[in-house]
Symmetry: C2
Subunit: 301 residues, 2 copies
């Protein structure tokens, strides 16, 4: 069985006429007669009755015609789907992000953009810590991930810088340091403060950056608690357990009981936003996604 047989069969069925069908197919009549006959012999079924003026379908032929048309359609559909998938216009893309990533407007914006440009790609979003995200990338449970670390160690992962956010101090409402809302806060003022930080295991990059900055400022931070999610961190701050240091975009949470203050420019403390993917990735949609995100990152202020 060959698709050519089906195509020929459908044409002959439609024309009711081998000679005309051959014309339409751009071949000669005898080969077409032979192919039809070959198909009949293969199926051990007579598909046409030869009449002096053309051919006439048998019942079996009528039954096959319905199926043959559908099959040919499906083949076309399958091919175009395969091509679309190869162009990254279809398929499934699993995107991971750290708990803090979606607060920066850049992340929801590029996701929305991608959905608009590739409506046939079904996006699966997953939130987790940077370490988990990178592991998931390696295990191919994820295709791309928004992370906070500067650079995960280990091969096979490529990380593109997207943007750097200023870090802000998050202070419990009513805290003495929380009064001068919009003024720069020197990091050293936090030396004696109890700190609540995002769990190091989840996001070592951000955590280590904070500790390093504190050391540069001349003190060892007093970390009283670590939370598994950046949002939990802020809730703990609101509960008065201590202060925290979070990326600026977290301000938009407008959490009751938390006051944000910008940090003094030195020591510089920034929260990088990065896009991680496999260095060799064959998921076309992922490549598209990476390209789109990098393009958008460039036009940032």
């Amino acid at each position: 069985m060959d698709l050519r047989h089906l195509r020929y069969f459908v044409t002959v069925a439609e024309e009711g006429h081998i000679t005309r069908a051959a014309e339409r197919l751009g071949i000669q009549q005898p080969p077409l007669s032979q192919q039809i006959r070959a198909l009949e012999e293969e199926l051990e079924v007579q598909l046409f009755r030869r009449k002096p003026r053309g051919v006439e379908m048998t019942e079996a032929g009528k039954a096959l015609l319905v199926d043959a048309r559908r099959i040919l359609d499906e083949v076309e559909g399958a091919l175009s789907r395969a091509k679309r998938t190869a162009r990254g216009e279809q398929g499934r893309l699993e995107v991971g992000f750290t708990s803090s990533a979606p607060f920066h407007p850049f992340v929801p914006r590029v996701i929305r953009l991608f959905r608009e440009n590739h409506p046939k790609v079904s996006l699966v979003l997953e939130e987790s810590g940077t370490s988990n995200l990178v592991a998931a990338l390696r295990a191919e449970r994820l295709d791309v991930a928004f992370i906070r670390s500067a650079m995960p160690k280990g091969e096979g992962i490529r990380v593109y810088p997207l943007l750097d956010e200023e870090m802000f101090a998050a202070l419990p409402k009513g805290h003495p340091l929380a009064r001068a809302r919009n003024e720069h806060l020197k990091l050293t003022y936090l030396a004696a403060e109890p700190l609540v930080l995002y769990r190091r295991a989840s996001g070592p990059g951000l955590h280590d950056g904070i500790v390093a900055a504190c050391r540069t400022a001349g003190f060892n931070p007093r970390i009283v608690q670590e939370a598994p999610r950046i949002t939990s961190t802020l809730n703990l701050v609101a509960a008065g357990l201590g202060a925290s240091l979070v990326p600026e975009s977290l301000r938009r949470m407008r959490l009751e009981g938390v006051v944000f203050r910008p940090l003094a420019p030195r020591p510089r403390l920034v929260a990088p936003l990065r896009l991680a993917c496999r260095s060799v990735d064959h998921v076309p949609a992922a490549q598209r996604f990476v390209a789109l995100v990098r393009r958008e990152a460039k036009v940032l202020p």
Copy 2:
């Protein structure tokens, strides 16, 4: 595009290994490599990534695999459906019958039998007069028909005798002749009776048989009304408009107000039941039906 390509592709995808796939397909490895490559070139899509130990599907390949499997299944299904149709095990069969036919248990029995043996053939039943039925057969609106005439004139129709039923007199309840219920009734007793008969145009065979028998018995029947259906005939008898002559099987109607009496053996008056079909019929299910009905007719008492 060729179904072979799809089959090869599916096998390679399943094995993840061109060499093993070639073994399973019963060909050598190089041609298989070539075919896969040819498929990729035709689609302009990479389907596999060549790895040192086997091959690995791309996203486009995964997308195609799903479709390819389904298409191959559908092709198989289409072929078997075509074969089944050719064997008359599937399709559509339009069966006609005169209004009196279904009262004889033979007709419902063979229809039930056929349904059991050919569950995939959808039966369409249509009631009409013998003349209409034969015309419908010619026009291919029907495939087979149970009729009452001995032989319709004209070419292209073949008629098989199935059985002959005795004719019974149907008398209005309370009619003098209706008293001796189970005794033979001599046809001459009906000479003066008003008769209600099945319309000649609908079933000329039965009608003419009755008139001929009356003439043999020595009288011209006094036909006061003709009804388009045998059941209407009996209703008219019940209403007292006259007597009628109907096939024995009509007795099972047990119509209130009608009394049946067997007729005297001479002149013999029988109602034939016949099966009509086209002499050249290419509907396989019709051939099956005819064969079954004839076989069943032979085992009748």
